[in-house]
Symmetry: C2
Subunit: 150 residues, 2 copies
């Protein structure tokens, strides 16, 4: 990505010089950071993202969740089945359009929301940077993502 040489002998930039690798490894690092905290809630990191999305707006269909999280329905379907099996959500066809499956939080699922603030507090502490710095980095990363998704 930031390399110049095209000739086969010249040293190619190491992965440490590639922005894509930074994002790739930083994303994994966050998953690892979340894991022990989410284990207590019985959630994986992607499952947690779905729950956060639903805590903000309940009753979305699979397509809408996919748009919010940039995930395909083939990823979400089994994930949602596991959340269903765990008793955190319900999956019902929309009577107005039987193609859609509406996802609703159960009482258990809603109740879990209060534990989430503890998780967020722990994460913020682990990152240990002021809110403004984090916001600036996030903005840059979002810009890159939106650019390459266009």
């Amino acid at each position: 990505m930031t390399d110049t040489p095209a000739d086969a002998d010249a040293p190619l930039s190491d992965v440490t010089g590639m922005l894509c690798f930074s994002l790739y490894s930083a994303g994994h690092a966050f998953t690892q950071l979340y894991r022990p905290l989410l284990d207590d809630l019985g959630l994986t990191y992607p499952q947690y993202l779905v729950m956060v999305t639903l805590w903000n707006r309940d009753g979305q269909n699979v397509k809408e969740l996919g748009r919010a999280l940039f995930l395909d329905s083939s990823t979400l379907t089994p994930l949602l089945k596991r959340l269903d099996a765990a008793g955190l959500i319900t999956r019902t066809r929309n009577p107005k359009d039987e193609r859609e499956v509406l996802i609703h939080l159960t009482e258990t699922g809603k109740a879990l929301k209060s534990s989430a603030s503890d998780v967020m507090r722990c994460i913020a502490e682990a990152v240990g940077l002021d809110a403004e710095t984090v916001r600036a980095i996030k903005e840059s990363v979002d810009t890159i993502r939106d650019k390459i998704k266009s």
Copy 2:
């Protein structure tokens, strides 16, 4: 609309406000950007990262590759077997220490390096930001990653 129990109406940030989600989704976006380019080389994105690492230094063992890429042997072992099956690398025990498996590029694997510069050129063009901007973002992301991995 959505009814919200008294203790659960706290302004929980949406996933779009979470840095971890920005990194998570940006990482996926890069994988998607690479996919069609790497398909031509018969590589997946993680396989490509391994190849880049080996193009820079041939003959590393699994542990060293794992340190460079922040990946576990349980991830690398099957991935390396696939690269082996594809004829791009060889896996041989180190005679000096039979615990180690040394990874060496085959001629085919070395030859693939020249195609990689085309890939890098395409990616750089798609990102469409000047090198200095990219470097600054990368530095911020690396700082975060190293911070939460400590």
